[in-house]
Amino acid sequence: MNDIILRTEHLTKHFGALMAVQDVSLTLKKNLAHAIIGPNGAGKTTLLNLLSGELYPDQGTIRYKDQEITKLSPDQISRLGIGRSYQKTNIISSFTCFENCRLAAQSRLITFMDFFRPVKRLKALSQHAEKALELVNLSHQAATVAQTMSYGEQRQLELAMILATEPELLLLDEPLAGMGSQESGQIIELLQTLAKKHTLILVEHDMDAVFSIAQQLTVMVNGEILETGNVEQIRHSTAVQEAYLGHYEPQPHH
């Protein structure tokens, strides 16, 4: 049982009459990359919002490791080791890249409110921030104010910030959306590396990326899980083919 890192049971969230997430029960194994796919409006982002504490479910429970986290706040959930990126880029726009990552690293390295020491002198913070920028290939932009960068670079920065908080479980909401093909190639590579030592929940529309990163797949439609299983099972599931994948032709294996 110890290799289960996250388990949701009958998770339900509605907005008025709209059932955004309905009776979602998921079990996530440690160090596996788990993709959630589905058409727009399927409830993928809402599900991530429930997992990260941005929203509370109407029904159901979420357990992370040995602990129920259903009613915890986003900061508590983050401190347990769950990092979150957003579909709509979410960074501190007036900070430089470096400052963004330093703030992220600080949340792990300084566990009390520090009013006295200038951050500049805290070398460990700078090192963590620089390391995170290096991972996403943004070192050359360290001193650039975040909002002046391209959209793709801002997405990379957001990933770097999450990495600087050293999470075990990453919730990534369409991390590749809006990236150029070179940038997204680099990020796919990074995600593949991360997937070895982290647990990933990856919401993504780019199916080639999904198949090259994830081992497990869940297909959501209208707030419900249509099918869940490993990549091969989903590829060949007729229900999924009909309901969602439609005309998708899997790439032949090399």
């Binding site: 941005e54 706040s73 983050s78 600080q106």
Partner: protein
């Protein structure tokens, strides 16, 4: 070769001029005005910390200004004299306590609700003083003496002397300026500046943002209490108007005039208001109208307030680069 950062060089010159001021201009009227500016400057910097750096726009900051002043009046209640070492900590503690309560009740709201709730709390204090017979209602309280800064039984630094009082206020001004500058550079300061731009992101990074906002609120409220204490010491007069929303409103105008998010901008704003209030009445009887028009013009044409004008004249050209190179 050591190149001194132009900005810190400039600040050192300003501080030096402030220290030498009583000998440069031996006119008690101007000394008096400068003392007023410095006190208002402390008050304005405390609000800048809250509005400009934490993103909490309060319309009730004068509540703490009033608490600081009235607590000093309370220290005088039974005698004609009060010991500074007792009176100041009492004022600061009272302001901090009140700021904790008001802050705890207001920081969860934002936008217009935050304005309304802070406004309501400020006015509540105003009406409390107005109706309170203990604090002498609308007539206010005269403080016959200044607090005594006792060392043993000896009053080393007599605040009745206006030059001493000026230095006393200047000392606090410098302390507050450096304190806030320092806090902004610490991990705590980084977090609140992040909150100011994007609170939900900072929260998702693992920071309990409500707690950070509350502490920022308490720091700002306590320093506003210090300003109230100094103003009461300076004028020797405490009235309900210390906490009136006009006071909070004019302070926000001062921030706009001077430019938020700079600390020194609001001080320039305070100086602008004090000087205009002096000069304009000599030109016309309708000086308040003129003041209003001037404020609108400054806000329209200098988006960052008088700070803009100032840095355009003083730091023209390479200042931006010089700073960057140095970091």
């Amino acid at each position: 070769m050591v190149i001194i950062n132009r900005k810190s060089f400039f600040f050192s010159i300003i501080f030096l001029l402030l220290i030498l001021f009583p000998w440069i201009i031996e006119d008690s009227f101007y000394l008096e005005q400068l003392t007023r500016i410095l006190i208002l400057g402390i008050f304005a910097m405390s609000l800048d910390f809250l509005v400009g750096y934490t993103g909490i726009v309060s319309l009730g900051h004068a509540a703490f200004y009033g608490v600081g002043a009235y607590t000093l009046a309370y220290s005088f209640q039974s005698t004609d004299a009060t010991n500074f070492w007792y009176a100041l900590p009492l004022s600061l503690t009272a302001s901090a306590l009140i700021a904790t309560i008001i802050g705890w009740l207001s920081i969860r709201t934002s936008g217009i609700y935050l304005l309304m709730i802070t406004l309501a709390f400020g006015q509540m204090f105003y009406f409390f003083y107005l109706e309170s017979s203990y604090f002498n209602g609308s007539d206010g309280i005269f403080l016959l003496n200044k607090p005594e800064i006792l060392f043993g039984s000896y009053n080393l630094f007599d605040l009745e002397n206006e030059v001493n009082l000026y230095f006393f206020v200047l000392g606090w001004f410098i302390i507050v300026f450096l304190l806030l500058k320092t806090i902004l550079k610490t991990p705590f300061g980084q977090v609140i500046q992040g909150i100011c731009v994007n609170e939900s992101r900072v929260r998702a990074l693992g920071y309990p943002t409500p707690r950070y906002k509350l502490i920022s609120f308490v720091i700002a409220g306590t320093l506003a209490g210090l300003a109230g204490f100094l103003e009461a010491t300076h004028t020797g007069f405490v009235t309900p108007s210390y906490s009136h929303w006009h006071q909070s409103g004019i302070l926000l105008v001062i921030l706009m005039l001077g430019g938020v998010r700079t600390l020194y901008g609001p001080v320039l704003g305070a100086a602008t208001i004090v000087l205009l209030e002096d000069l304009l009445p000599e030109i016309t009887d309708h000086w308040k109208l003129l003041l209003g028009i001037l404020i609108i013009l400054i806000v329209l044409f200098l988006p960052n307030g008088t700070t803009d004008l100032f840095s355009r004249i003083l730091f023209r050209g390479p200042i931006q680069k010089a700073n960057k190179d140095h970091e």
